[in-house]
Amino acid sequence: MHRNAIATLSLLLMSLGATAETIEMKVNGLVCAFCAQGIEKSFRKNTVVTDVVVSLKDRLVAVEVSPGKDIPDQELHNLLTDAGYDVNTITRTQTPVADIRARLKKPTS
């Protein structure tokens, strides 16, 4: 019984550890979709990035990285600066980019 509980807990922790991490960045200057193409292009070149979403309305760039991977803040700053923008805040969440994309598509009341 005790061994089964430990095994279950281990599997649960492994599962949590495998959850993809999403990095959400609030970006200043994000007003033109045509000009912001460079952001998506830069992040998609990064091998640990699996998905990218950009929202002008929310001034948001969110990237999902492979399980167990991360991109250091300094590298995130460099990527956005090279695209011509300034980073305001960086936060890490467990919300998949697909969920963020779905949330962004919902009409605002």
Binding site: G29, C32, F34, Q37, K41, V53, K57, G84
Partner: protein, 218 residues
């Protein structure tokens, strides 16, 4: 845009100061921009630039000027360096100062052989998701001519576009030429659409001539 900025624009228009406002000469680091413009029968231009960094790009272009005054034409081929001198990124706006310079050769009506030519320019722009404004002055000179094309564009978006939607803008353009190309101010009304890496401006001048521009980033 602040009221004082609007007043400055209106004042510049009222004074007839030649200005030019349009797309940015640098897209993003490691990006290539291709642009073609047809300007109401008085000018046509093709440009291609590659940006090794977000703050400069290198490339070249071809500019054809056809005088509406005496019918003469000047064709200029040039290499150019564009430099982003200053950028202000704010939460809901962006403003830029670009400068550029280059050298090339010109073929001029009535002059045998090609002439050495040089060019220089400056562009100031400001945009939010609803308002766009840019002032551009582009000078081309040789021992035989001095042509400056100054353009002002003021744009208004009827809705706020997003990254994955079509952007629609209504743009008023005023353009002045020096060097016996066009007398007075050429005013055009344009519809601007862009989505993804494609951009198109199409419209007409107030005397019914086509004004159009297409641009691609990749």
């Amino acid at each position: 845009m602040k009221r004082s900025s609007w007043c400055a624009f209106v004042t510049l228009i009222a004074l007839g100061i030649p200005l030019r406002l349009e797309a940015k000469p640098i897209a993003f680091a490691h990006g290539t921009t291709v642009m073609a413009e047809y300007g109401a029968g008085t000018m046509g231009e093709l440009q291609i630039f590659y940006a090794p960094s977000f703050n400069y790009s290198l490339g070249g272009g071809y500019l054809a000027l056809d005088s509406a005054i005496d019918g003469s034409s000047t064709d200029i081929t040039y290499a150019r360096l564009n430099y982003l001198a200053k950028r202000w990124n704010r939460e809901a706006s962006q403003a830029n100062v670009f400068v550029w310079g280059g050298i090339g050769s010109a073929n001029i009506d009535g002059v045998s052989g090609d002439e050495f030519a040089w060019n220089a320019g400056v562009q100031l722009d400001y945009e939010t998701r609803r308002i766009y404004a840019s002032l551009k002055s582009d000078l081309h000179e040789s021992s035989e001519f001095s042509h400056r094309i100054d353009t002002l564009q003021l744009g208004f978006a009827p809705y706020k576009h997003d990254y994955d939607t079509v952007a629609t803008w209504f743009v008023v353009q005023g353009r002045r030429y020096t060097g016996e190309i066009f007398d007075g101010t050429e005013v055009a009304l344009l519809l601007r659409l862009f989505k993804g890496n494609k951009w198109i401006d199409v419209g007409a001048t107030t005397d019914g001539k086509l004004q159009a521009m297409v641009m691609l980033n990749f």
